[in-house]
Subunit: 202 residues, 2 copies
């Protein structure tokens, strides 16, 4: 059996990443989603173990010291990170796993797992990015501008990724990412066993 | 506009390559098929310009001396080759092109076009390969065995390819190859312009 593969997916605020991801899991429910460990309190509408595992700061710091995280970040007073064990378990049982993470997290995972494949979701244009960030509600202009600057900083690092998928249409973007996931199963490194299998019998 | 890409597709006799290819062109008619130039006489059922351009030996040798071929081969008394011009024209107009060629031709093209992507179509097993080669009709055993040896010699070189697609089911194999073709449009090298486009406006 082939091992599963690790797909790192990033996309700035305004890229539509969350909608694209939920389309992918709808179309390909066998793909595993990596659940982040975080120390901030649960918000309304969130469920333990869905997108996040809510853990204590003490437990998180223990995970850091025991090298149990593929990547982590401290934001203001809270930790966010990707535990290594579920990722290892998924790939060893032949399942592909998606880790949703920002550009810094992606860089950390790439160093630890050079065989991982990274995909950056891009808004189709600067104008569309601005529009999507402004359309969220009645937030003050400076909040929107801060979000826009942060999105542009992420986009400047899109070149670090293996693939770039432009989200013009959610379903097409999801299909593009599924094409990448499918194609990585077909690389010669992942298919060498079939050559041996066919030749062994002759 | 992005340039189109060159996809080299090989598969031994018994891999089902021809059926897979015709499925691909049915599903994705915008992909161009590279027409080989050959010097053998036209056979019944063949049409000029469909799979082959039938040309004279003199013209073929002129193409060799003028470096107009991406690859060529001499088999018994005839030449077979891939003219470079239609491939260049397709990719420059943004179209992807498939070149169907054997392992030797693939190696020649790879040297001339290192950016090309190569895909090897495999039979699912040795038993199935044997079965497909024997089922063709009432050919003598030695003809079948010669074909089998030649198929195995091609399979031994499948590691030279970027991707290996196992043809268990024709439609799935065609979809796998289409995934590879789609995914290659999304590599960061082919998408850099979109990063610049989004950032230029800000």
């Amino acid at each position: 059996m082939n091992k599963g593969q690790v797909f790192i997916i990033s996309g700035p605020s305004g890229s539509g990443k969350d909608t694209v991801l939920s389309q992918i899991f709808k179309k390909r429910p066998e793909i595993v989603f990596s659940i982040s460990s975080i120390t901030r309190p649960m918000r309304e509408g969130e469920t333990e173990g869905e997108k996040y595992n809510f853990i204590s700061k003490e437990r998180f710091e223990q995970m850091i010291s025991q090298n149990e995280l593929l990547e982590y970040n401290r934001y203001i007073d809270n930790y966010y990170g990707t535990p290594a064990k579920p990722v290892r378990e998924a790939t060893e049982s032949g399942k592909d796993i998606i880790i949703e993470v920002d550009v810094n997290g992606a860089a950390q995972i790439r160093r630890k797992m050079p065989q991982s494949v990274s995909i950056f979701i891009m808004p189709p244009s600067f104008g569309e990015l601005e529009r999507r960030l402004s359309c969220r509600g009645t937030e003050p202009r400076e909040v929107i501008e801060k979000r826009l600057r942060s999105a542009l900083n992420e986009i400047r690092r899109a070149e670090e990724y293996d693939y770039i998928v432009v989200n013009r249409d959610v379903s097409c973007a999801a299909d593009d990412i599924i094409s990448v996931i499918n194609s990585r199963r077909l690389t010669v490194e992942n298919q060498k066993h079939i050559i041996d299998e066919v030749l062994r019998k002759c």
